[in-house]
Symmetry: C2
Subunit: 244 residues, 2 copies
Amino acid sequence: MEPMGAAAVIIGNEVLTAKVVDANGPYLIQRLREVGIPLRSLEIVPDEVDFIVEAVSRARQRAKYVFTSGGIGPTHDDVTVRAVALAMGRRVVRLPEMVELIRQKGPERMTPEVMRLADAPEGAVLLHQSGNWYPVLTVEDVFLLPGVPQLFRTQLETVLGRLSGTPVHLRVLYLTAGESAVAGALDRVALDMPHVAIGSYPMFDPALDYSVKVTVESVDKAEVEAAFARLLEELPEGALLRTE
Amino acid sequence: MEPMGAAAVIIGNEVLTAKVVDANGPYLIQRLREVGIPLRSLEIVPDEVDFIVEAVSRARQRAKYVFTSGGIGPTHDDVTVRAVALAMGRRVVRLPEMVELIRQKGPERMTPEVMRLADAPEGAVLLHQSGNWYPVLTVEDVFLLPGVPQLFRTQLETVLGRLSGTPVHLRVLYLTAGESAVAGALDRVALDMPHVAIGSYPMFDPALDYSVKVTVESVDKAEVEAAFARLLEELPEGALLRTE
């Protein structure tokens, strides 16, 4: 089966060592949901070539679009370009188009370290957006985004503007019964309607007026409504508080 | 080489579909850092057996301790136990000790769905902690924690109380020079001192008085201090703002 949706690889020693809380992952999750591209997985790995190669390879098997965050600057710990090239069986080459962009910023800036910004997996394409100096480095459907949150967000929009998603329909049931009391009903409906995703989330927060949140979703609105109606039938008497 | 440190697998459709922001991952990252257990990777996967099997298998190759979050309740979407069993080549069995705990809560609760809470990979051990009804399900060094944040945190402490870590020493340099201007110096020191992790984080926030944060860390304090001293020597004149 052709992989669909997206997968994300966050390259970040600083995240794994608790120096910063990752902001790019949650932001990406939110934006992909908004544009209707399902996210299959998100992995946070250290700035180490082996980890990134493995994570990117797997992400490409799982999903059509792969977003990486981080590791594309000029310093020794920026190894994402090399790792993505390895994961895709390509050489690292210097992109003349990127060399030219750096030259335009000032030839005195063309140190060996800065020139690393022009390195890319062979066959890479630069996605330009007016207003952004630095284009998005792209290889097939792998998008190499920077780790700095401001830049990540700007460049993500450059990419998302070129992709098209399918919005997801969602219905929610709030229950006062505990999860154990409704598990049988949820099971039956989930088994009968495998194309609808049914989620069950117990809550232990006394400030809430419900104890389980049940979500029903699919890109097919009719299927969502059918499963929703089935759940209303199957749930034990008195279990339901309200729906959305 | 014997794997060391920890790896995490967050099982959560609700996270990947932006219904909730994952709180367990960031909390785990912070606590592991505090107790000195290095985290190698963290992956968020859907509530699907194949994804979880793959993620847990890889986590076990990479790290000594594996923490999973979520998917251990009584409903149809709770497939973590089965997936962990598959990843470890074990059968799923019913734990008599857990059956007895459920019975003590009230024999009327022993529905087929609730009894799933007593299922575990063969050879699983329950870690008890006074004050917690539900023990931590553990197979070798894989810890199956619940996804509900309050329970996750409580059970995580039960586990961490049994492990021992090695605190990390950290020095920080705040630079006013840009990352490109210092990349050469960082490269040289990183190359000469491979056992010290040197991180370089450019900041684009005008509210900050520095533009790059450089971190130097290792479990070996003397190595950290040596690398820190080397950086002070190698950095270009005027690049340094302050240290920590």
